[in-house]
Amino acid sequence: MRTKRNQRSERPDLNAGSMADIAFLLLIFFLVTTTMDTEVGILRLLPPMEKAPQPTEANGRDVYEVNINDANELSVEGIPMDIQDLRSGVKEFMTNPENSLVLPERRSVNRAICEQGIALARSRMLHASDEVSKQVHQKELSTWEHKLAVTELIGDFQELPPNAVIALRTGSRTSYAMYMNVQNELEAAVEDLREALCKEKFHREFKELNEKSSDDRPLIKAIRAVHPQRISEAEPLEVQSIR
């Protein structure tokens, strides 16, 4: 027994020092060949092909026309504009602080109006003669209910008309970098408005609201209802003229 023990202690330990080096090599290999970069960008929802909103001349005050021509020059409502002024321009369009007649008319929404709307839609639904009109009134009812929920969260607010839209058009030779700059400014303008509203009403930052948490989701929805992001990049002019 004793001899055995002696033998064991005499045998040298296997040197595991190089094991770490081997693992390091593997680690460095993986660090080099893989990527950890996350996919970032500006997320957009395109309008479906068949029912794209067509901004017409009739609702001119509700459409904010942003054009970029082939020489990468920006013009808004037909007037040349510097890209630095675009953000404040969009904000003015969306809020219309001076009740200008050339900008969309903001209608105030409060609890009483919502309840009136709900009652009206309900009675219309009851008297609806066919399925189609019933569905229309059903839709009307749900929008009023949504608005009521918003007023409960943030109080009375000014609503942007449902057909108010920012129409972005580009020439076929406009550079993509310029287009992205403009997209970014449009996004930033809406984001600024939402951020300001969120700070005022909830004393929190809009960016920090979590869409996955059930407490925050109604807040996000309410803020989005007041300042909707309506950017129509529908129907480029060339495509329209082809059809």
Binding site: L27, T34, E39, L43, R44, R173
Partner: protein
């Protein structure tokens, strides 16, 4: 003095490095799990435009990429081309590519697929618009304009 020193070293054995490989292996596994291999080799040169209002896409597994930019290979000219997966594609092949991407996924995931367009910043809008119209025609409406953070 020397006797004293010897005695003290004997009483504290050297720190065992046997656990070092385990630690490194742990790091290794962490990197293997969190990173992804570069799946496609780029055939087009892309310098992404910069933007400040960018959002991180949550689930990379649900993102398909469309690359648009001038080809790396000078024999193919300098006009921007579209790359889907590992090869160049014509405009009318986008539809087919989307069907293929939908078929390889779970049906429940299909409505959540985002098409991310990685477009070189010097590309002309005609190309971008054409691809966009093609996406709309095939009812792929959730898109992302890939950009790099700035400011």
């Amino acid at each position: 003095m020397s006797i004293f020193k010897r005695g003290s070293t004997k009483s504290t054995p050297p720190i065992s490095t046997a656990s070092l490989p385990d630690i490194i292996f742990m790091l290794l596994f962490f990197f293997m799990v969190t990173t992804v291999m570069r799946e496609t080799e780029l055939l087009v040169k892309i310098t992404l435009p910069e933007a400040s209002e960018i959002i991180r896409l949550e689930d990379k597994a649900l993102v398909d990429y469309i690359y648009i930019g001038p080809p790396v290979d000078p024999d193919r000219g300098t006009e921007p081309l579209t790359q889907l997966n590992g090869q160049f594609a014509r405009l009318n092949e986008i539809n087919q590519w989307m069907d293929w991407n939908e078929a390889r996924r779970d049906q429940k995931e299909v409505p959540f697929i985002t098409r991310s367009r990685k477009v070189d910043k010097d590309t002309r809008m005609k190309m971008v618009i054409d691809v966009k119209q093609e996406l709309r025609r095939s009812n792929a409406l959730k898109i992302n304009y890939s950009a790099e953070q700035d400011r």
